[in-house]
Amino acid sequence: MSWRTVFWGLCVPGALIATAFVAVRMVVGGDRGMLPIGETTDAHHQIEMACETCHAAPAFAGAAAAVKAMNKTCRNCHENELRAAGDSHPGKLFRSPGMAVYRERIDARLCMACHIEHRPEITRAGAVTVAADFCVACHAEGEQDVRAIRPSHADLTFDTCASAGCHNYHDNSALYEDFLVKHAGRPWVAPEPVHARSARDRARELPKGAALTGTPAIARSGIAKRPRQRSPFAWNNAVPRPPAALDEAPAIPRGGIAKRPRQRSPVASAAALVEPAALDDWAGSGHAAAGVDCVACHAPDVVEGAPRAEVEARWIEAPDTDVCEDCHKPEAKTFARGRHGMRGHPSIAAPRDPGRGLEAIGLGGVLPGAVAAWFADPPRPMRMTVAEARLPMRADAAPASLDCGACHRHHAVDTVRAAVEACASCHDDAHTRAWFGSAHHALWQAELAGEAPPGAGVSCATCHMARVGRRGKIVTNHNQNDVLRPNEKMIRPVCLDCHGLGFAIDALADADLVARNFRGKPSVHIESIEWALRRASDPGRAGNE
């Protein structure tokens, strides 16, 4: 047999098989890791194998339909964020015929006009894929010519609009003119700086004497004391009872903070199923105080009063975060919108059904089940692992999976640990390291020690998972994206509680200061407040911008 025969005999069928193999993976199911045409942007890389999340258009749809469908998928996840920020350039603004001339330059109705995925060569901060001076497209001529209507802007270049700390394209909630004027002249720090919503929230949970000293590991020492502290909140005053023997507990209650008076139910008749260390952790937790027992999380499907055998039969050794979500809906919802938990967002496409794909190509029911199963999408981890992160992370944290327990610890349900120690046990960047020893750290220590009022301390979570008020309740916004980039998004919900607007704008515009975790004073000064004041005093001003 000649080499030609061997070559063609192998290569031609090989190429055909390879083509068919990849085509089947595209249409039916299977690993598609070889398909992305370029690196996915940060955060989105977590969901890049759930292609249909963004590529929602039908196969072979036209370019316009594909872009429209993709644009819709952007809004599935980012709509709330934009709405909350009072988007300065909402898509609807550009729908009118009068905006046609601007749409020709940038079709701002579409997210993809500025944010194109899989284009690492042109992807800038904030996943922006247009040049930094994109404002020039609309604000350089006519009635929108900012240099004409704002003499103060006459000598500015357009690449500084969004990079100098003055404007953002979407979120200007802390940068618009009236707001600047209103907050002008405030001191750099309030006389009694306290983050109000944190103060309300922490007042009910922080133990007196809990201390956080130099390193995150030491934070653990404060946790053991918690069960013996009494909170001013009623639900936190319940002292957990010791676990009773299963025989003594004929009825087993189901979990759920809002619905169930946990305090009165027999505590953990299934406690014999758990380890003593876990039980100790639980005993000091808010769950124990609220009467949320083992069965509530480990056997959530068991009805109240079920016999022990049924509990054992339905016992889940490691409950998923779905169980947490049953009671902590706002937290779970925001967690799924953030970078830690976005794989659990309801808009993320589910793995494809190979049966449907096979039907689409005329092989439905033809292939044996085992072969059809071979075309199934590989199982996707529901949780992000530290190893997958693109930010600098500690090597020893790589295997950690980001579920509720990763930060709060499953049985201790520890919000103090989650506020700092959990972050620092994974994140290993300059900003995180610089927090220890910073003024914010000192305040946090003082608050934990009871030497400062609740809300005075500034933990990682204070800024990056700001507490927000929702329907009369204070909840922790687990979507750090809401206050992350551009960092001016942090000013209103976080910084202004303690600092003046001028200081906050300057501090956030100073990248070195941010990296040093605000040790020192800003070395840059953004003049937007002064300019706003000057313009406010001008009787001929055109109006708020």
């Binding site: 030609r4 070889m34 398909l35 072979f60």
Partner: protein, 392 residues
């Protein structure tokens, strides 16, 4: 007795029945010259500096020779030998080859075997029945080159034919040919044939050499330059720094070229089209039954031209960015195919230079095979790339 064309084919056929990898244009000119030499030996044509004329229209009994004789006879205008060699090499080389092969099969020197896999892309092969005839011809030529005996006029004519078409280095070691160069020159000056025939043969030989050199030199130089350009472009694809995208708003040319969907679509279609055209041109060179129009040199020129266009469009489509995953595999396959193709072009059309460097003629086969190896995944990767674009 075998004709010159038959002897030529026997010499250039390997034991598997495939032609040695020689210059196609030289081979085509050699076939045309071989027929004219046979006609001259048969006293049917004569030449002078301005014309090749038929002196006797009586058929020779050999269908291939008689067909060419008739063609020369019926031509209205009188043209010189060079024109006939050019025309016959372009229009009749395939037919002469097929008839010579048929004659050799009929006379039991060669046997015909159907093409090996893949059948659609392989012409029938003609291996020698026992190889004796080819060995005899080689022995005759060797004896003539290495002795001072008076040679047979047909052997002299055959050697002159092979030398004129620059085929001798493909049949014998280059050093041996160089050592025999004085003898070859002596043979070409010998007046061993009847005066009239000698005049015609010498004229055909001289004209053939000129025709081969001028035709092949012109095209070889062009193809060599194109191949070098292609190789440089392929290397630049890998080595050259990427053209930066300016951080200024506005539709810059390169940004449109590389990141605008419509432009990318069209450059992609263009790339696909030129790749397909290059494949057709390559098939035409290899698979005669598929397409019979045009000459191999033109198809080769077209193939190289399409390859160069692919490089340019590749730049337009990707900015020579390798991309990721299957896109990177596609780019690697493209660049490897272009680079190996360019090297094959350089080795084929710079054969004399390679010979002067002491490289064996068969070394030319290596980049050609690499070209095929690099090309085979290309259609699959292209199909997948197009599917990815339109499915996602």
């Amino acid at each position: 007795m075998l004709t010159f064309a038959e002897e030529l084919i026997l010499l250039l056929t390997d034991e598997d029945g495939a032609l040695l990898p020689i210059q196609k244009d030289a081979f085509e000119c050699a076939l045309a010259g071989a027929v004219l030499m046979d006609l001259a030996f048969a006293w049917r044509v004569d030449t002078d500096p301005r014309a090749l004329v038929v002196t006797d229209r009586t058929p020779t009994g050999n269908p291939a020779l008689d067909r060419i004789l008739e063609k020369i006879a019926v031509r209205a205008e009188t043209v010189d030998t060079r024109t006939w060699i050019r025309d016959l090499s372009i229009d009749e080389a395939d037919a002469i080859r097929e008839q010579a092969l048929a004659g050799l099969v009929e006379s039991g020197v060669l046997e015909q075997r159907s093409g090996t896999f893949p059948w659609a892309f392989r012409a029938p092969r003609h291996p020698a029945v026992d190889g004796e005839a080819a060995r005899a011809i080689r022995l005759r030529i060797g004896n003539v080159l290495h002795s001072d005996d008076v040679p047979d006029p047909r052997d002299v004519a055959l050697i002159a034919l092979l030398d004129a078409c620059d085929i001798l280095p493909d049949l014998f070691p280059v050093r041996e040919i160089e050592r025999c160069r004085p003898r070859i020159e002596q043979l070409r000056r010998m007046d061993l044939i009847g005066r009239e025939v000698a005049g015609a043969i010498a004229d055909i030989d001289r004209t053939l050499a000129l025709a081969v050199r001028s035709r092949s030199a012109r095209f070889r130089r062009l193809l060599l330059h194109l191949s070098v350009a292609g190789a440089l472009a392929a290397v630049a694809t890998l080595m050259a720094p990427r053209v930066p995208i300016p951080d200024r708003f506005g539709p810059t040319f390169f940004e449109l070229l590389w990141f605008d969907g419509a432009w990318q679509e069209w450059s992609g279609y263009g790339l696909l089209g030129f790749s397909g055209a290059g494949l057709v041109a390559a098939l035409r060179m290899k698979v005669r039954p598929v397409l019979r129009s045009g000459t191999s040199i033109r198809w080769r020129l077209a193939h190289v031209g399409f390859g160069l266009c692919c490089v340019l469009l590749l730049f337009g489509h990707t900015g020579f960015r390798l991309g990721a995953n299957l896109n990177a595999a596609l780019m690697v396959s493209y660049v490897a195919a272009l680079l190996s193709g360019a090297l094959a072009g350089i080795s084929t059309h710079g054969a004399s230079w390679l010979r002067s460097m002491g490289m064996a003629p068969r070394l030319r086969v290596v980049p050609m095979r690499l070209h095929v190896v690099a090309l085979f995944p290309l259609p699959a990767l292209l199909i997948i790339h197009v599917l990815v674009v339109y499915l996602y």
